[in-house]
Symmetry: C2
């Protein structure tokens, strides 16, 4: 059987930065060539970045992507890489689609292309379009209707894009009908908790359906609220894993595959789901076999060897997603440093630890802003966090500002509590404007869910690193991070007291969160059912929770929709969280239970 | 030919308030019966409100809608209205759809039903689903596949829902194939500038395609960012307008129609676009003819004028949309009063005028918050606005708070400017928390587009009434409102000086908007091309604008995406504005030109 050395480049790209992304593609292609690859692949929409959202509807951007693709093909040839077939994702438009009411303007397509010999030798577009969760692809794209097959070294390689594998029908059975020797899918599949296991099972199943070895090339990095976790997978046609790439690291996965050669009477015409086979032949001659010992895997983010990268445990996986998401957001927005209000509590402590891991402690600025209700331990814990991590630390008391407002207005109760939080928000923004740091909001998913936060107060910031992390997970991640430090022989970043003391907003004397909220384990369990699983009140009560507590909690969640709309973006972790995948009316008169 | 007296109830409903909406439906049905109607109709999803967004994915809500529909049918019969066929929109689920990856959970449907004799006698679901602009219906619904036809008084009435008329094919030609005597479409079509003309042409065209009189029943009111303008239309099969309802007012449009009776060999089976004819016969006997003189139109919002309501001019139309949108948002959020920071400038003055029209001047609270940079005329103009409108007015100087911050931090330039704006935002929120008013944000579309505003400062508020109104339109609407007052013999609400003086944020001495921005007529023209029409830099320059100015403006717009994400919701006016219909990446590396 012919052998093919496949280079899967699971890399980051930036939405809109066509020139920068092209540069990155050239660099990794050169690296792939140096590894002796016969076929090189990059993720879905790598040239434009993903997701481009409404940029897909601007024709100047679509044309820039198309021109950029042709320029990239030429550039690769100029660099002496024209003899190597390179598969890249980009944004195209359908030449065939007639303008139609309700169809995206300009008929854009989520497309892929094979670049070879300085030319675009084969183009195709995603057939199955996802339009659920974080995806809105019916809004942006018209579907592709071909089954692209490129012959490389005598092997027919069927091509697909992401959702083509997730949904039944279409290119998976069509790859079998086309009698392909390899199915290669390029993806930009956002991270979700536990999705790695789902993806693995999916790819194994689809390989067996396609009847051929299947390579699933993932994206890595972060874009706005989405995080891409890498974890590319290659399985053989029996569903056995051949290679698995690292999580949360850019990598060029090089894998030698022995594959069935193209059949003499390769099918043509329309196959499954109306897909028309679109073939291009680049090379009939099987590639010379490599010494198996050469195969390996290299990554810019540190590197390791072997076809099966070590797996992260669940806590490390989530923590890594938060670090990668934050780092991408800060850099892609053109910032170098971050600013965090440090209360001495666990939320801001975890955010600070994540920030130190993402951008380096020397670029993290913390400010303690005590009021007259702040406890001594809060001030001490904030200072201790700074000492342990090495972040830049200062203290600014808010009492003079508080007194100025209280002298001008008669404020009581909640108004007085929120005022303190808003004075801190204003203080952080003043420092941000003056010194150029990006402000991080410390809110967690539990408090955002029920609205236990102050709009324009602790919600102030450009990014909320833990907005999709429940409070119980905040504790677990803090403990995991400290344990990991010990294992690495480092100082645990988060003060033990920040973890062990009862959570409090400290906006009035003796206040603790449980004055207003159920215990967090109970609260989070109810929220997981209501927010993440869309269960109704009756089902939640039937799951064993107190009816009155459920009713009260759900009311809080419904009323807080308005605050969540104005909360800054943050790393998306869960399948139905408060990132862009949950969309409820604000003025919602519906009451569960 | 048989005569049918049709009652089209163009009313408001509230998302989620199933009980309240049912009550409203019963009340208007009773009114319709009193008018002698033979067939009564209500808008799309009137029972659940529209749009329900992700509530469609919660099965408890879907089941509540289904149960609510059955209860409504029974209730109508109990009230003695069972003999009158009533068509209502609601949320259902498909019993036929098999669970499928990528399909909305529970297979919800945007449905309609005919209620008669205490029962649901016919159900159907929207066939064409819109998934563009403000619509995401592929996310929420599975399409209907029937052509519902109900025979009333010997007339076959074909039924459709909103998008079924906007897209080619489907129920319009199917109504002709089914040989219907009337096509009735129930809608929740959001207002857009100039959409009334588009709708009229659409209905005229579709009536001719369907070959029968066509009734287009619109929704009226506001829900979150959407406004529904009413303006129901009935045209005959030649496209001639038979009746047109008022804009921006609830109304029961009663119209007597002479319609062809049902044909003896009424077609059955599958017709256009795979739609299966689904017939129910309620009454074969033609209804007794009414005296034509009885026909008229009544509205709760006062005023009626026969079968063709007077049209609003363009400025009044937009102003009315802003009033209706704000009133709905305040009420549906359970507030009675609003709070506005009054700078003396035109934006806050227009917002105050809109608020007085929406909720009454006695429920509008204005606060002047001068700093040391505030001019005398600003303070005077704010007081003059209060005097003219009768809104509740107070003054709180921000100098003590400003001094407290400046004493604690070293702030300069932009940081010092933004601080003043944020002190005002904090002050407004403190008053809101203490007194229970909802805060209105005064930002207009021009400044939001380019980011000429302070996040957590003048962006503070629960709702931005004019967030989708360009500055040039702000001036025009202010002048229109003053003229309208004169015509009504009232005091013009907006001080002439607020209109005539050069716009300024007054955050530093002598500052005017044109220090940072192009003149508004030029800016707005560029923004209309870039924001609303998605034109690229080259096209905008080709339209006659200075290349450098275009590049600078587009850069400002791209960089401001982050601010707009955190801006509160506001009335949606334009087809591609900053309401929920424009979705761009925040960290966008793409630069036009």
């Amino acid at each position: 059987m012919p052998q093919l050395r496949l280079a899967l480049n699971q890399i980051d790209s930036s939405v809109g930065d066509l020139a920068g992304n092209a540069e990155t593609i050239v660099r990794w292609t050169r690296h792939s060539a140096e590894q002796g690859a016969h076929l090189v692949a990059f993720p879905e929409m790598v040239l434009t970045g993903y997701p481009v959202e409404d940029l897909a509807l601007r024709s100047s951007f679509v044309e820039a992507s198309r021109a950029g693709l042709r320029a990239l093909a030429a550039r690769l040839a100029e660099e002496g890489l024209g003899g190597l077939p390179v598969i890249v994702g980009y944004l195209d438009r359908s030449a065939a689609a007639q303008p139609k009411y309700g169809q995206p303007a300009g008929a854009p397509q989520n497309a892929g292309a094979v670049l070879y010999g300085g030319e675009v030798v084969l183009g195709f577009a995603k057939h199955h379009l996802p339009n659920y969760g974080v995806f809105d692809e019916f809004r942006y794209f018209v579907p592709g209707d071909t089954m692209p097959v490129v012959r490389v070294g005598g092997v027919d390689v069927a091509l697909a894009i992401c959702e083509d594998l997730w949904q039944d029908g279409g290119r998976v059975p069509a790859a079998r009908s086309a009698r392909a020797g390899l199915l290669l899918s390029i993806n930009a599949s956002p991270y979700e908790r536990d999705k790695d296991d789902t993806r693995l099972e999916l790819v194994r199943k689809r390989a067996q359906e396609a009847g051929c070895t299947t390579a699933y090339l993932a994206m890595m990095g972060g874009q706005d609220e989405l995080v891409f976790d890498g974890d590319s997978i290659v399985v053989d046609r029996d569903g056995e894993v051949v290679a698995r790439a690292p999580q949360f690291a850019e990598a060029c996965v090089v894998v030698d595959l022995e594959l069935p050669g193209a059949v003499a009477d390769a099918p043509e015409g329309v196959v499954d789901d109306g897909l028309r086979i679109d073939r291009v032949v680049l090379s009939e001659e099987p590639a010379p076999a490599h010494d198996a010992g050469e195969t390996g895997e290299t990554g810019e983010a540190g590197g390791n060897a072997g076809g099966y990268a070590a797996r992260l445990d669940d806590d490390e996986e989530v923590y890594s997603a938060l670090v990668v998401g934050l780092r991408a957001y800060v850099r892609k927005n053109g910032f170098r440093s971050v600013l965090i209000g440090l209360s001495g509590g666990i939320d801001s402590a975890l955010v600070a630890a994540i920030a130190c891991d993402a951008v380096g402690a020397e670029n993290v600025y913390g400010v303690s802003m005590p009021s007259k209700y702040s406890s001594e331990h809060s001030k001490d814990d904030a200072a201790e966090l700074a000492r342990r991590t090495g972040l830049n630390f200062r203290t600014v008391a808010i009492e003079p500002m508080f007194d100025a407002y209280m002298g001008a207005l008669e404020l009581t109760g909640l108004a007085e509590e929120n005022l303190q939080s808003r004075l801190r928000g204003t203080l952080l923004m003043a420092l941000s404007n003056e010194e150029g740091h990006i402000v991080l909001a410390p809110g967690n998913k539990s408090e955002l869910a029920v609205g236990y936060s102050t709009l324009y107060g602790d919600s102030v910031g450009a990014y909320g690193p833990i907005k999709d992390v429940y409070k119980t997970s905040v504790f677990r991640l803090a403990e995991w991070r400290n344990r990991a430090a010990v294992q690495r022989g480092q100082t645990p970043p988060i003060p033990e007291n920040s973890i062990s003391k009862p959570p409090s907003a400290e906006l009035r004397p003796g206040q603790v969160d449980t004055d207003s909220l159920p215990d967090y384990p109970v609260l989070d369990a109810i929220l997981a059912l209501y927010v993440d699983q869309d269960r109704g009140a009756d089902e939640i009560v039937a799951a064993g929770f107190d009816a009155e507590l459920v009713a009260k909690t759900l009311r809080m969640v419904d009323r807080a929709e308005y605050k969540r709309r104005q909360y800054p973006p943050g790393t998306k972790i869960s399948p139905k969280g408060f990132g862009k995948d949950r969309r409820l009316p604000i003025t919602n008169g519906w009451r569960e239970g």
